[in-house]
């Protein structure tokens, strides 16, 4: 099987689905979404809590509810095919995609453009080198979440959660609702990495203690976890001797960070960004390789799915235009640099049309390095201020999205800087 597609989309999460819809809206005639799980929707299918879609659908949805909306939008469109239970094994730089499924065997598809929307995976115990025994009962929070919410089993009964990111917080509440005892949430940083509303709704409402500046220094148990030793850490995040205490538990859930899933991107030798751990993209979400686009958690980890959809719609649109030969014309490259307290900014570069620079929207998504109150975000090119915006609060856990007004495009030189005025 070797068929020519305008757009091949790898990964059927919200990014892949939104990209497919947008590619269709922008005129692509033959689109395919390839998903390795048994259903579309990505990580959303296991996030049965509320809190999705307020920006994008102007309505509060559950994860599966949001996924359902995305799936409905692409359903019954003859131009869009979907494959589930199908894993992409390899992508070649000529846009040949090799995929495999039990039903269809080994497939070779040919694209005019490819959109990478593979999402992310969870950081593990091994990556953070937690000392101790290696019994059963240590899970990543996402794996446990899938087991509880989709398969209907508990990972254990007495739980400690390491990491206060959103997944950890949401799981603390979930496990409490399931009748389990959540003994503690531990966080190595002096602040939580989760949304404020999640700290209130998931911990405070259930009387679950949050230990900031604490980490696990030993996991106990020969066969199944029997407990952990915890210690306070200093400002360098090193455990302080003498501060150790034990907590009894049979389960440790790790919510210690997400890593964009870029095996395929690395195989393509795409230029990657060291801090986002995703491909470097321009404002169209095109990567360093012509005709390859990327969006969603594979580019940088999002906290809100709404921004994932926004970003994916951009990628879908420009992939379609490229496939249809409508992205011709001379472009000039502008570098986007994160400075002064802004840790990352996506896109990392702009490709500005020389003929019609004002013809498009330029949306920037960024994260700050440390929490701040009442700061100002300033986007400049040389001495020209393109945007200056007060931020009542800025937290590393909450992505900031802004749009550069088209009216300012002619002030843009070779580089844009994105920083905070502290």
């Amino acid at each position: 099987m070797n068929q020519l597609y305008d757009v091949i989309i790898i990964g059927g999460g919200p990014a892949g689905l939104s990209a497919a819809y947008s590619a269709w809206e922008n005129g692509a005639k033959k689109i395919i979404v390839i998903e390795r799980d048994r259903e579309l929707g990505g990580i959303l299918q296991q996030c049965i809590h509320n809190g999705f879609g307020l920006h994008h659908f102007k309505e509060e949805l559950t994860g599966p509810g949001y996924a359902y909306r995305c799936i409905e939008m692409i359903k019954d469109k003859p131009e869009i095919e979907t494959l589930v239970d199908t894993m992409v094994l390899d992508v070649k730089d000529n846009k040949t995609v090799i995929a495999v499924s039990p039903e269809k065997g080994l497939m070779e598809l040919q694209g005019k453009t490819v959109i990478l929307t593979m999402g992310c995976r969870e950081r593990t115990r091994g990556a953070i080198r937690t000392p101790g025994e290696r019994p059963a009962g240590v899970f990543t929070a996402g794996a446990a979440q899938r087991m509880v919410n989709m398969e209907g089993y508990l990972p254990g009964h007495k739980i400690v959660i390491l990491g206060s990111g959103d997944i950890g917080l949401v799981m603390a509440r979930r496990m409490s609702l399931e009748g389990c005892k959540v003994q503690a949430v531990l966080e190595i940083c002096p602040f939580s990495n989760g949304l404020t509303r999640n700290i209130v709704q998931c911990l405070h409402d259930y009387d679950i203690p949050l230990y900031l500046s604490h980490t696990i220094v030993k996991i106990h148990g020969d066969t199944r976890v029997t407990g952990i030793t915890v210690a306070k850490v200093d400002y360098k995040m090193c455990p302080i001797p003498g501060t150790e205490f034990d907590i009894e538990c049979d389960t440790v859930l790790l919510s210690v960070g997400l890593i964009p899933e870029n095996e395929l991107s690395n195989g393509l030798n795409l230029a990657m960004h060291p801090l986002t751990a995703g491909p470097i993209v321009d404002q169209h979400r095109e990567t360093s390789l012509d005709g390859f686009f990327a969006a969603g958690n594979v580019v940088h980890v999002h906290d809100l799915v709404d921004f994932v959809s926004d970003e994916a719609e951009i990628a879908g649109k420009y992939a379609a235009l490229k496939a249809l030969g409508k992205m011709e014309g001379e472009m000039r490259e502008v570098k986007v640099s994160a400075i002064n307290g802004v840790r990352t900014c996506v896109p990392q570069k702009l490709s500005m049309s020389v003929a019609n620079p004002a013809d498009e929207k330029v949306k920037l998504f960024m994260r700050v390095a440390a929490p701040h109150r009442k700061v100002r975000l300033e986007i400049k090119s040389g001495d020209n201020v393109l945007l200056s915006k007060p931020l009542p609060v800025a937290k590393p856990s909450e992505m900031i999205a802004v749009e550069i007004p088209a009216a300012k495009f002619d002030l843009i030189g070779d580089e844009i800087t994105v920083g905070l005025l502290l």
């Binding site: 495999v100 039903e103 593990t124 115990r125 091994g126 000392p131 996402g142 794996a143 990972p155 009748g179």
Partner: protein
């Protein structure tokens, strides 16, 4: 105690040594049973070591260690094809960083020659850096071309499978509790499953070999556990570490912290060495990790710590005699294969030969005419060509479903690992046979899926699937709505 069965030989311990002995015994007209206390083979020292098939220049000339090491290494070259073993013949380097250490290399080479090791050579710094460009401070190295790295779990399972296809039996979840003697000689083994009547017993119980020997009335030796800790890196890290096996120059105390590749292209640093009181202490410690990182940095200053994917520890079974303890004891019918610290993995096939030959001689058993040496060949999906992959899926469409995304392991391979002889019964059993869960996400993604496949294939509830050892359950039923457990 209830009687279970009657046999000629009981081998205690399902590590590399016990299974290698079982395989050699299965060449003779002898009924043999291997008993292992854990739910699977290869859960003792054999699961956590450096996996190196040593060339044989370390051990003192004439020692059992030296003899069985050199012979074992030769045998692996032969067994590789027969048993379809995963081995990479990388050769090994002992790297000197000072003139003094260059002198030690000469000593090692001479000892190697005396032990019968072939092909040893001293390399210049330039020659070393050509092989391993990331090493720093190199003066020269001892090159041993016959060394390699193996896949110890795979080898253990293969030895066991080969023995089983020749009539031997493997009983897991079977713990030896005592012995029955008649007129001072071994007559039976007491286990948690009942009594096995037997004429001979081989003690290959790893760090517990002294306790087993004592139960039989042999208190001629003791075993101390000496822990070694490791940090393992993702496959992509080899470009900043090493492509082969690199030892620092040994000191009087140890072979030192090495930087080493695995059969599947991961890299590790370790092991350190710490004497233990507790034979169940497999904990990785903060101090231990710092110790091995500090040592490894002498050879490679910029360790890619961001690419570490797991840490583990193994226990060396150090005997009070200083050498391997192989052969008959003072108790008639009771044999030891004990004190098998490094190079025990390499030596195992040679130890098997020695022990089996001696039992055959004493019992007068003849060699079987129809010993089946070869195991069926299999190939991992990942290592197949696209055409082979397409064919495999056509024959069994479960090869088209990728379960472990990091290592590209398919459901077909997992089902096969469960349903073949000495099959996987646990999540880690699947991992050690197929590599599902050995990649950078360490089973975060595939662990629950493998649990479901095990439950389906073994026809047991998900809640009874184990991670590794008895009572290491993975998942539980949800609480019923009224608060009680369902």
């Amino acid at each position: 105690m209830e009687f279970v069965k009657s046999t000629d030989v009981v081998v205690i311990g399902g590590g590399i040594v016990g299974t290698a002995i079982l395989r050699e015994l299965s060449k003779y007209d002898l009924q043999c049973v291997l008993v292992e206390k854990e739910p699977d083979v290869s859960l003792g020292t054999t699961k956590a070591n450096s996996a190196i098939l040593h060339a044989g220049f370390d051990a003192p000339t004439g020692s059992l260690k030296a003899i069985t090491n050199v012979r074992g290494n030769k045998l692996y070259h032969q067994l590789e094809k027969e048993l379809d073993l995963d081995i990479k013949w990388t050769g090994s380097l002992v790297v000197a960083t000072t003139e003094e250490e260059m002198a030690t290399l000469q000593e090692l080479m001479q000892r190697g020659h005396a032990n019968g090791v072939e092909g040893l050579q001293i390399l210049t710094a330039e020659e070393v850096l050509e092989q391993e460009p990331n090493l720093q401070n190199v003066k020269g190295a001892l090159w041993a071309p016959t060394a390699g790295v193996c896949w110890p779990f795979g080898a253990t399972v293969a030895f066991a499978q080969c023995a089983v296809q020749n009539g031997a039996e493997v009983m897991c979840d079977t713990k030896v509790l005592g012995f029955i003697k008649e007129d001072g000689r071994i007559a039976g083994v007491e286990t948690n499953k009942g009594v096995i009547k037997t004429k001979y017993v081989v003690n290959a119980a790893g760090v517990y070999a002294d306790e087993i020997a004592k139960l039989a009335g042999d208190d001629s030796f003791t075993i101390t556990a000496r822990k070694g800790e490791y940090i393992l890196f993702d496959k992509t890290a080899c470009n900043s570490l090493v492509y082969g096996v690199v030892f620092p120059c040994p000191t009087k105390k140890s072979k030192g912290i090495l930087v080493c590749t695995t059969t599947h292209g991961n890299t590790f640093i370790g092991p350190n060495a710490n004497e233990l009181e507790d034979k169940e202490d497999h904990a990785v410690t903060m101090d231990g990790m710092n110790e091995i990182m500090t040592s490894a940095r002498k050879l490679i200053p910029n360790l890619p710590m961001g690419q570490a994917i797991t840490q583990f520890a193994g226990l060396r079974a150090v005997s009070s005699t200083g050498d391997f303890i192989i052969g008959p004891s003072d108790i008639e019918g009771f044999f030891n294969a004990a004190g098998m610290q490094s190079p025990g993995l390499t030596a195992a096939p040679a130890v098997g030969e020695l022990v089996a030959a001696e039992i055959a001689r004493l019992s007068g058993a003849a060699k079987k005419a129809n010993f089946k040496a070869a195991l069926p060949k299999t190939k991992a999906f990942l290592r197949m060509t696209r055409t082979e992959q397409a064919k495999a899926i056509e024959a069994n469409n479960l090869y088209g479903r990728v379960i472990c995304r990091c290592e590209t392991i398919t459901e077909g391979e997992i089902v096969e690992a469960i349903n073949s002889p000495v099959g996987a019964r646990t999540v880690d059993g699947v991992k050690r046979r197929t590599r599902a869960g050995m990649g950078r996400c360490q089973g975060g993604f595939c662990g629950p899926r493998v649990t479901q496949i095990l439950a389906r294939e073994l026809n047991i509830p998900i809640t009874e699937v184990l991670k590794e050892r008895t009572d290491s359950n993975m998942f539980y039923e949800k609480y019923a709505a009224d608060g009680g457990e369902e």
